[in-house]
């Protein structure tokens, strides 16, 4: 039987499948569909210090094999999220990861510190790559210096492993990845959504109030896989790959280019039981490929 465990160095996961921030609600929404214990880890929807209403609708539209979203990080604020996490923790032993957001560097550090202090939280993921906060899609992960500064600041105030989530919307993602790990990131996750545009011909306006929105889903997989490979080649911390995963083979593709684990996002929306299917498919594929352990293929892409 295939062994699906993943060693991140600072933590072992029972399998490489982590549910991506913003696509798995606060975990509870999926309790009707499957036992959350089967997951490698669960990442909470992004959180700021204060409650946020999020962007006006429409917030999500379909594109060919993908979705554009501009949710705008609607959320209950960090105090309420602590309650939610405590409740979720009573329902599952799967590691819970908090996706930390901030309007400025100080807020990132504050929010990170709050959740770092919670026993129920296994790790933090620093969301420096959300394209839906500022108009035009600007975010800290577009700039290596800003990223380094922010990561250093957050590292000072947290005791938990820190994953830094990178943006594909930057001149050189490898440079930003370097900056993040040199500044102390314990792991990198990539990619967040790709900046895209949809327009409303009738109204002659962008579909989204924020003009641009973030593209995710199967459509982006070839692009994301390439970026993950680029970052894996130069990183000395574990890389968590994502973008368009919808099958066990997709997961193994990411492992093959060097990812330690993966996140699954958009697929959770159209197939709420996707995680169960995908974990099953990883096992089947590993058996078929006669791979006993994921480390046998991790980063083994021959070029």
């Amino acid at each position: 039987m295939a062994d699906l465990t993943v060693d991140l160095g600072f933590r072992t996961l029972k399998n490489p499948v982590i549910t991506a921030s913003g696509t798995f609600g606060y975990g509870e929404e999926f309790l009707p569909f499957f036992d959350l214990d089967i997951l490698g880890a669960i990442i909470m929807k992004g959180i700021f210090r204060e409650p946020r209403p999020g962007n006006p609708p429409p917030r999500l539209v379909e594109t060919p094999a993908g979705v554009l979203n501009s949710i705008g990080l609607a959320g209950p604020g960090s105090e309420k999220l602590q309650e939610i996490i405590r409740r979720l923790h009573t329902r599952t032993n799967t590691p819970i990861i908090v996706n930390v957001c901030g309007e400025d560097d100080r807020e990132f550090a504050e929010v990170a510190a709050v959740f770092s202090a919670m026993d129920e939280v296994a790790m933090l993921e620093l969301n420096i790559s959300c394209p839906n906060i500022k108009k035009g899609g600007a975010c800290p992960a577009q700039d290596a210096d800003h990223t380094a500064r922010l990561v250093r600041q957050v590292k000072k105030v947290v005791g938990k492993p820190l994953i830094v989530k990178l943006s594909p919307n930057t001149a050189d993602i490898v440079e930003v990845a370097q900056a993040a790990q040199d500044a102390g990131a314990d792991a990198l996750s990539l990619v967040n959504t790709f900046l895209g545009l949809a327009v409303d011909l009738e109204k002659r306006k962008p579909v989204f109030a924020n003009v641009y929105a973030g593209l995710s889903g199967p459509a982006v997989k070839p692009l994301a896989l390439r970026l993950v490979r680029e970052v894996c080649r130069r990183s000395y911390v574990p890389v968590i790959g994502m973008g368009g995963i919808s099958s066990g083979r997709d997961v193994l593709d990411y492992i093959l280019v060097g990812a330690a684990a993966v996140q699954i996002g958009t697929v959770n929306f159209y197939e709420p039981g996707a995680a169960v299917r995908i974990i099953g498919e990883i096992e089947t594929e590993m058996d078929k490929l006669q791979i006993k352990n994921l480390s046998e293929i991790r980063g083994k892409l021959q070029t």
């Binding site: 913003g22 696509t23 798995f24 609600g25 929404e29 999926f30 009707p32 569909f33 929807k45 209403p53 999020g54 006006p56 609708p57 429409p58 917030r59 999500l60 539209v61 379909e62 060919p64 094999a65 993908g66 979705v67 979203n69 949710i71 609607a74 889903g217 199967p218 919808s246 958009t266 959770n268 929306f269 159209y270 197939e271 709420p272 039981g273």
Partner: protein, 256 residues
């Protein structure tokens, strides 16, 4: 809430853009209540990627009935399915219309908005007084009329904009009179946003208990994506899929 593989038993074209499906989906049928909806994967392929939200016209285990209008890509593909085809259906989703036993309830249905109200009438009509106000653009937009006549209703009022069926005009033209003359205690509405806004305006401060079922673009249908929001009267957003789709009419900020 189940992700169930339904089996299409009957598929009818009702003329125009309207279609009716009878589907064996025992687990969903077992628990669905009036107001609930489902998310349907309209094609065995992954185009379109997202499921489509559809109300339940009726639910009688092991069957559910869907009634839909072909609007775009997804509903078009759905209309190509035939008896014997399978269909992935997630549901029942959302909240429900309250039963309000003993009350005189007026159902207000615009076009395909008939769906959850038909379900309501089928489920509760035998036990107490229900009235239905049903309107559409033309006769062709009201193809369910024959089936509606099988419902237990104390009153049926039909409007069409072009006068081709029932009274000529918008259904909202008849609303106030009916509410007054029929001593209505509560209303349940479903239909286009403009219609609901008008209903809200007409029923304001009349002391009735008013509910409306809303539509929104939906990414997931079960509360995970936060995309389906509608602006509430208090300025906050509500998720239509799990805080709704049924809301007190007064709780929504209607654009007029």
């Amino acid at each position: 809430m189940q992700d169930e593989r339904g089996l299409i038993e009957e598929a009818h074209s009702l003329g125009g853009d309207y279609f009716l499906l009878k589907i064996a989906a025992p687990r969903i049928a077992a628990t669905a209540k009036p107001g609930n909806f489902v998310m349907v994967r309209v094609s065995p392929s992954r185009d379109p990627l997202l499921r489509r939200p559809l109300g339940l016209l009726e639910s009688r285990p092991p069957y559910i009935w869907l009634y839909y209008q072909v609007l775009g890509h997804g509903t078009k593909l759905l209309s190509g399915l035939r008896p014997g085809d399978g269909l992935d259906i997630l549901g029942p989703l959302g909240n429900t219309f309250p039963e309000l036993p003993g009350k005189r309830v007026l159902l207000v249905a615009g076009g395909r908005g008939i769906v959850p109200l038909f379900h309501y009438a089928r489920a509760y009509g035998e036990h107490r007084p229900l009235l239905l106000l049903y309107g559409g653009r033309r006769r062709a937009d009201l193809p369910l009329l024959e089936r509606i006549k099988t419902l237990c209703l104390q009153g049926l009022f039909i409007f069409s904009e072009d006068g081709s069926l029932g009274q000529m005009g918008l259904l909202t033209d008849g609303l106030e009179k009916i509410v007054r003359e029929e001593r209505v205690d509560a209303t349940m509405s479903c239909g286009p946003e403009a219609m609901l806004a008008r209903v809200a305006l007409l029923l304001k401060s009349r002391g009735l208990e008013n509910r409306a079922s809303l539509e929104a673009l939906m990414g997931c249908g079960f509360g995970a994506c936060h995309s389906c929001v509608v602006l509430a009267a208090d300025g906050s957003y509500r998720k239509v899929c799990d805080e709704g789709p049924v809301f007190p009419l007064e709780e929504i900020q209607w654009r007029t």
